[in-house]
Amino acid sequence: MIKLLYFARLREALGTAQEEIAMPNDVADIQQLMAWLAQRGGAWQEEFTGCRPLRAAINQELVDNAAAIRDGVEVAFFPPVTGG
């Protein structure tokens, strides 16, 4: 299983803050996970096909889209940050 978290504008657009999914067979990195999520269609497709900037974190560390995903990790997706 992997835990998925969504924040801020993305969380609202998807209507989901978090979920747990079985590790999909054809997913090995962030880019592939985004493509897998986009296949859900609707808002998922809009958000995960790269039109809007998204950041990703694995186990609470910022990563790029080539970062490998292993079973058991926590993956978060969110818009560019705007604190401070």
Partner: protein, 151 residues
């Protein structure tokens, strides 16, 4: 030290505590961020700060550790507020102590530049037209970039 909290903070008390923590402190540099009542032409009535519990603290600790590795400073404090805020509310405090001002100033600016671009906080503004998520600014990425150019 890192604090992520709903409550307001007393910048003067925090600075005094850090200034008095050791007698070889010769410089205290600080930054306070405050909610403005105007953003991109819209009157702002308030905002909500969302964050990623756990990652926020880790990210801020990492930024402070990198600053300590880069400059000869004694200590650094970051307090960032979350939840509902209104104009004139304080959002963030960074305090850096060191022997001399140059290192303290630079480390304080470095911490803010990385906080703005890497710490997982998001602002949702309330204005005349309703609510909107604040968009990230390219100028914040540029501000961070200058630190890697000088490596």
């Amino acid at each position: 030290m890192i604090k992520v909290q709903h409550e307001d903070f007393d910048a003067g008390a925090e600075m005094a505590r850090m200034r008095m923590a050791r007698p070889d402190v010769g410089a205290v540099a600080a930054f306070i961020g405050q909610v403005r009542d105007l953003n991109e032409g819209s009157k702002v009535s308030g905002m909500t700060l969302e964050h990623y519990p756990g990652m926020t603290e880790k990210a801020l600790e990492g930024i402070v550790e990198r600053a300590k590795g880069r400059w000869d400073i004694f200590d650094a404090l970051v307090i960032h507020r979350i939840g509902a805020l209104k104009p004139l509310d304080q959002i963030v405090l960074v305090v850096v102590t060191g022997a001399h001002r140059g290192e303290a100033f630079a480390a304080c600016e470095y911490i803010m530049d990385y906080l703005k671009t890497e710490a997982p906080f998001w602002k949702k503004e309330q204005n005349d037209a309703g609510e909107r998520w604040v968009e990230a600014r390219a100028s914040d990425d540029d501000a961070k970039q200058r630190w890697s150019e000088s490596d």
